[in-house]
């Protein structure tokens, strides 16, 4: 069972308290009713599913109930960092080369 740091509670809590909520940094278009089929496809259906670093959303469901973002390595299953919803995608990751 992983330990996940909630950026709102500012502490590590067991995985049982959290729920994954899919890939992060996919903003809902403000003019969504007007976007093209291609843009809707990219927004709604297309996901990265990378081997390695993934940016994803989690919810501290059985805690503060906040959604936040996390960077996780899908190979080692290790969390690199977590940050609050709405904060920019981090450009530098601690302990990750390149």
């Amino acid at each position: 069972m992983l330990l996940i740091r909630c950026p709102y509670c500012e502490e590590e809590r067991p995985e049982l308290e959290f729920r994954n909520a899919g890939e992060a940094h996919i903003a809902r278009p403000t003019d969504i009713a007007a976007i093209s089929d291609d843009d809707f496809e990219k927004f709604f259906f297309i996901r990265q599913n990378p081997k390695g670093i993934i940016y994803e959303r989690w919810r501290h469901l059985h805690g503060c109930a906040r959604f936040f973002n996390a960077v996780r390595d899908t190979v080692s299953d290790k969390f690199v960092m977590t940050y609050k919803a709405g904060e920019p995608k981090p450009s530098k990751l601690p302990g990750v080369s390149k």
Binding site: M1, L2, L3, P14, R19, A21, A27, R28, I32, A33, I35, D37, F40, F44, R57, R59, L61, A65, R66, F67, D77, K78, A85, G86
Partner: protein, 996 residues
């Protein structure tokens, strides 16, 4: 007397404290503190089981958890039967009853032993090759027979009556293994004040000090020192000492699973103590002090009862006071077996000879053995043994060939060296390294742990304890401990064992056909491993699967390294290139009981009951499970079956009135200055212009345009909405709303609160509903003018606050009375009393379903399936056409969602009104087409409607609304049912009854 082989003045048990037990029905006496193995050996019993495949007689190989052979069934009563218990770890208690396994009719005469003679047919990979044809025979003929003939114990056939417990624990330093190294590490860490947990699988701490008679620490014997340290640790407030506790799994971020055997060793545990306790420990640092496991020698017939590990014989003597024979031989490739020979000799056992594969071995132990008068045959091998059910002789030959000599013995102690126990390290995802001593030791660490002592490849007591003490101090410091005074234990006398050998011994090489066992539990011989390589297996992972080497319940604790070395030799490759298999949890078998703990029966999943549950129970309700909820399904009266009860309930609701417990509905309060804006975005409907005090039926979509949930929403005030959801959707709708509010629309000033369990809901439906409620209500004008259909008022009922909704899920005049949950039953009872004056009935979920279907009201999740749009469901009117945005707005315009021919919800009337369709039944337009027919839809809801006097059904049909009046067909196994496509409303099409 507790056995003829018990040696007086040897061992640490108290002979006077006897314990009686039976094995295969025969009564024996042992001593408290014995294992079943030591007690049997004390009585001269070596034959304890039959092997997995060849049914060969087997005895005890070891004195510990690595035991592959001595598996027995322990039965406390008819329900408490545990198969495959290792006799070497099962502690003896008075009255213990054990049975041997895998033999018929008896242990000494086993019919299955014919497999041993027929063994050419059972060589490596035989399961894959022999039973391939015909394919169908595998399931019906081969597998059942193989399973019954080749197998271990029999699984119990009754529910487990024992109970188990489970605990989470946190600590700074977790020490796994309570031998000399583990104790030193725990002591070092504990002295800094950090929280320490130390666990060991044995009943007592001390590890190898149990048999290592040469060890002296701090001026006392090693064992005595260990007991003193344990007492010291137990007395410290910051230390938890867990004996009989096996760390079986090492998971991410230093999360370790341990199982504590709480009462398995007690004669009468009683019902208050659990059988086992699961510990889930999160540690800042882990110290692995898991020791090493002695390897056997791989030579012909090395599985004969009486042939065992030297350390085991030494343990039986030095700890249990049991001699494993009266005239023993020793076969070794390292020094440690000499210690066993010397101790046995001192205890009065004749040591016939030590056969040492090495040329001119030298060292203190060898000198001591010589001085004790033990004959040493160096440079020689034991090429085979005599005896059938027990070893009777060993045949000794120079290792490079030459004259044989047979020596009579009644036990043979062997040692090929020691394998570091890197199981937990490997489970932690650490990478092992093959070192210059030809051992796999911890290499690269993946987690915050450290290995010390024998499991780290460190030889000798003094070196191990130095390393462990330093590691314990360091781990404690890293976990936040304070530096403290040093009280490192001093080792006065030590035993250092040299390396030994890997692979098969002379006489069991590639040029032979003998059965030299590598894996005892799965009956894998050196020959099998070579055959696997000959048949093309190159990686040890393939060799393992082809031969099943190391795949038994002991996970190859004694066999892995030998198997690897033999494969590497055949492949002419260095061992690391052939690779070591990955160790996986559990380290030793774990019971299902310990894993599931209390989560069984009624505690498997929470049961949710509404505030009125007790009333429904008292009034004979039959309940159905709806998710975790218990819902009243129908209320049968005397003599009524379900059908009769539901018919009566449905008729009564439309004739007078009915009371229905709707408390399970999901309820969410949406509050704040932007509440209406938020509702506009989350639902397809317009909300801004809905007046306070009015209600609206809302539809919620996912972004893809499909219906996600629905429910009636009441606007209590400009900034306050009382939202209802489906029973099953309550939690996910809340999550869906929170997700959008927190991440997409955080600019909206809105607060969401789940109020599902705060309000009990009593639906009162039917022409008399107002007459029933009105006398109990204060402060609400319930006239049609003041409170029209689809409105909500706040006031009091029976003196308690209510949110009174005028709404209908039956099509008749109706209300839903919301009251604080604690008043639910009292208000229900008051309404019931009023209802009785009008002849009202209580109705359950089945009648609710029928009544709503009569009106064509859908149930999300039954009439929709996640691919249904509002238009498909005939609910286009509920989508705000002028809205610029709502979740799902873009999805609704996707090509597929606006295409012609989509499945649409319609009504179906069977041509024969008495026939009720099956829900889920497929619909076709031409019943005479060839199979597979083209299915154009399916029935989503179907009931007998007593109010309509016929069956009614809803169905999703391709282009359904354009097919009104068409005849379609529902093919069933025995007949084809003709149906007519109709509208969705079967009763009161004009909707006049809402105000009736």
């Amino acid at each position: 007397m507790s056995g003829a082989f018990r040696i007086s003045n040897a061992g640490r048990l108290t002979p006077a404290r006897t314990a009686r037990f039976t094995f295969d029905g025969k009564a024996y006496t042992g001593v408290e503190g014995d294992t079943l193995a030591s007690a049997l050996l004390a009585n001269g019993v070596h034959l304890v089981g039959r092997s997995f495949k060849y049914h060969r007689p087997r005895g005890f190989l070891s004195a510990g958890a690595e035991e592959p052979n001595a598996l027995v069934e322990i039965a406390r009563d008819s329900a408490r039967k545990t198969p495959n218990v290792r006799a070497t770890v099962q502690e003896l208690y008075d009255g213990l009853s054990a049975k041997s396994q895998n033999r018929w009719p008896s242990l000494s005469f086993d019919v299955g032993a014919v497999n041993d003679v027929a063994s050419p047919f059972f060589s490596a990979g035989f399961y894959y090759k022999t039973f391939m044809w015909p394919k169908s025979a595998w399931k019906n003929l081969y597998e059942p027979n193989i399973r019954s003939a080749a197998g271990l114990g029999v699984a119990p056939d009754q529910p487990d009556p024992d109970h188990y417990s489970s605990r989470f624990a946190h600590c700074d330093v977790l020490v796994l293994g309570g031998g000399a190294a583990g104790l030193a590490a725990a002591l070092a860490a504990a002295e800094t004040g950090v929280r320490v947990i130390i666990a060991d699988e044995q009943a007592e701490f001390g590890g190898a000090l149990r048999f290592e008679s040469g060890a002296r620490i701090e001026g006392q014997g090693g064992w005595a020192w260990a007991q003193g340290i344990v007492a010291q640790l137990k007395a410290m407030g910051n230390v938890r000492v867990l004996s009989r506790t096996t760390a079986f799994g090492y998971y991410a971020q230093n999360f370790v699973g341990l199982v504590e055997r709480v009462s398995e060793h007690l004669a009468d545990p009683g019902h208050d103590v659990p059988r086992e306790r699961l510990w889930q420990v999160r540690a800042k640092r882990v110290v692995l002090a898991t020791g090493a496991i002695e390897r056997h020698m791989v030579f012909a017939d090395n599985d004969r009862p009486g042939v065992m590990l030297a350390s085991a014989a030494r343990t039986y003597l030095n700890h249990y006071g049991v001699a494993v024979g009266r005239n023993v031989g020793v076969y070794t490739a390292n020094d440690s077996a000499y210690g066993a020979a010397i101790d046995l000799k001192k205890a009065g056992v004749n040591v016939a000879a030590i056969v040492d594969l090495r040329d001119n071995p030298s060292g203190t132990l060898i000198d001591q053995a010589r001085a004790a008068g033990i004959e040493i045959h160096d440079g020689r091998a034991v090429t085979r043994v005599g005896g059938k059910l027990r070893v009777s002789s060993m045949t000794v030959q120079p290792k490079n060939g030459g004259g044989e000599r047979t020596i009579a013995i009644d036990a043979l102690l062997m040692s090929a060296g020691w394998t570091p126990s890197v199981h937990l390290f490997s489970q932690s995802r650490g990478k092992v390294a093959f070192n210059e001593d030809k051992r796999f030791v911890p290499g690269t660490y993946a987690q915050d742990c450290v290995s010390v002592g024998a499991c780290n490849g460190t030889d000798g007591l003094a070196a191990s304890m130095d390393e462990a003490y330093a590691a314990g101090t360091k781990a404690a410091k890293e976990a936040g401990g304070k530096a403290t005074k040093v009280s490192k234990p001093k080792v006065d006398a030590d035993e250092i064992w040299s390396r030994g050998m890997l692979g098969s011994a002379p006489g069991a090489g590639p040029d032979t056909t003998v059965k030299a066992f590598v894996d005892f539990q799965n009956d894998v011989t050196a020959k099998d491993i070579r055959q696997a390589v000959r048949e093309g297996m190159r990686s040890i992972e393939h060799v393992k699967r082809f031969t099943t080497n190391g795949m038994a319940t002991d996970q190859g604790k004694t066999s892995n390294m030998h198997g690897l070395a033999i494969a590497a030799d055949m492949l002419s490759k260095p061992i690391p290139e052939v690779g070591l298999t990955t160790f996986r949890a559990p380290y030793t078998p774990v019971t299902f009981g310990a894993i599931i703990s209390h989560a069984r029966g009624p505690l498997f999943d929470p049961t949710r009951r509404t505030p009125m549950h007790g009333w429904a129970e008292k009034h004979g309700a039959v309940f159905e499970d709806v998710g975790q909820w218990k819902r009243a399904w129908y209320f049968p009266r005397a003599g009524e079956d379900m059908h009769a009860a539901v018919n009566r309930e449905c008729v009564t609701v439309r004739k007078t009135a009915g009371l229905f417990d709707a408390s399970t509905l999901g309820k969410i309060e949406v509050v704040g200055p932007d509440a209406a804006k938020f509702m506009e975005l989350l639902y397809t409907n317009p909300w801004e212009k809905l007046e306070a005090g009015r209600c609206r039926y809302g539809i919620m979509l996912r972004e893809d345009g499909f219906i996600y949930d629905d429910g009636v929403v009441g606007r209590l005030a400009a900034d306050r909405f009382h939202v209802t959801t489906t029973t099953g959707g309550a939690a996910r709708v809340m999550n869906h709303m929170e997700d959008y509010l927190q991440t997409e629309f955080p600019h909206l000033n809105v607060w969401l609160t789940s109020i599902s369990e705060q309000w009990a809901v009593i639906a009162v439906q039917g022409p008399k509903s107002r007459d029933i409620i009105a006398p109990l209500v204060e402060g609400i004008d319930m006239s049609d003018e003041a409170m029209p259909h689809m409105s909500v008022r706040e006031g009091k009922i029976c003196g308690v606050p209510t949110r009174l909704f005028r709404m209908s899920f039956t099509g008749d005049r109706g209300f839903e009375v919301n009251v604080p949950a604690d008043y639910g039953q009292a208000v229900w009872e008051a309404l019931w009393a009023e209802g009785q004056k009008h002849g009202a009935a209580a109705y359950g979920t089945e009648a609710m379903h029928v009544l709503r279907a009569e009106k064509g009201y859908i149930i999300v999740g039954q009439d929709t399936d996640g691919t249904v749009t509002p238009n498909d469901a005939g609910l286009d009117w509920a989508v705000g056409k002028k809205k610029a945005d709502f979740v799902g707005i873009r999805g609704l315009t996707r090509l597929d969602l606006v295409a012609k021919g989509r499945k649409q919800l319609v009504g179906l009337r069977t041509k024969d009104p008495r026939v009720v369709l099956e829900e889920g039944a497929q619909v076709v337009d031409n019943p005479n087409q060839p199979i597979p027919m083209k299915m154009i839809g399916h029935v989503t809801s179907s009931y007998w409607s007593e109010n309509c006097g016929r069956s009614i059904a809803l169905a999703l049909i391709a282009g359904g609304r354009d097919r009104a009046g068409e005849t379609l067909y529902v093919p069933m196994p025995d007949k084809v049912i003709e149906v007519e496509v109709t509208g969705m409303v079967f009763f009161d099409e004009k909707g006049e009854r809402l105000n009736g």
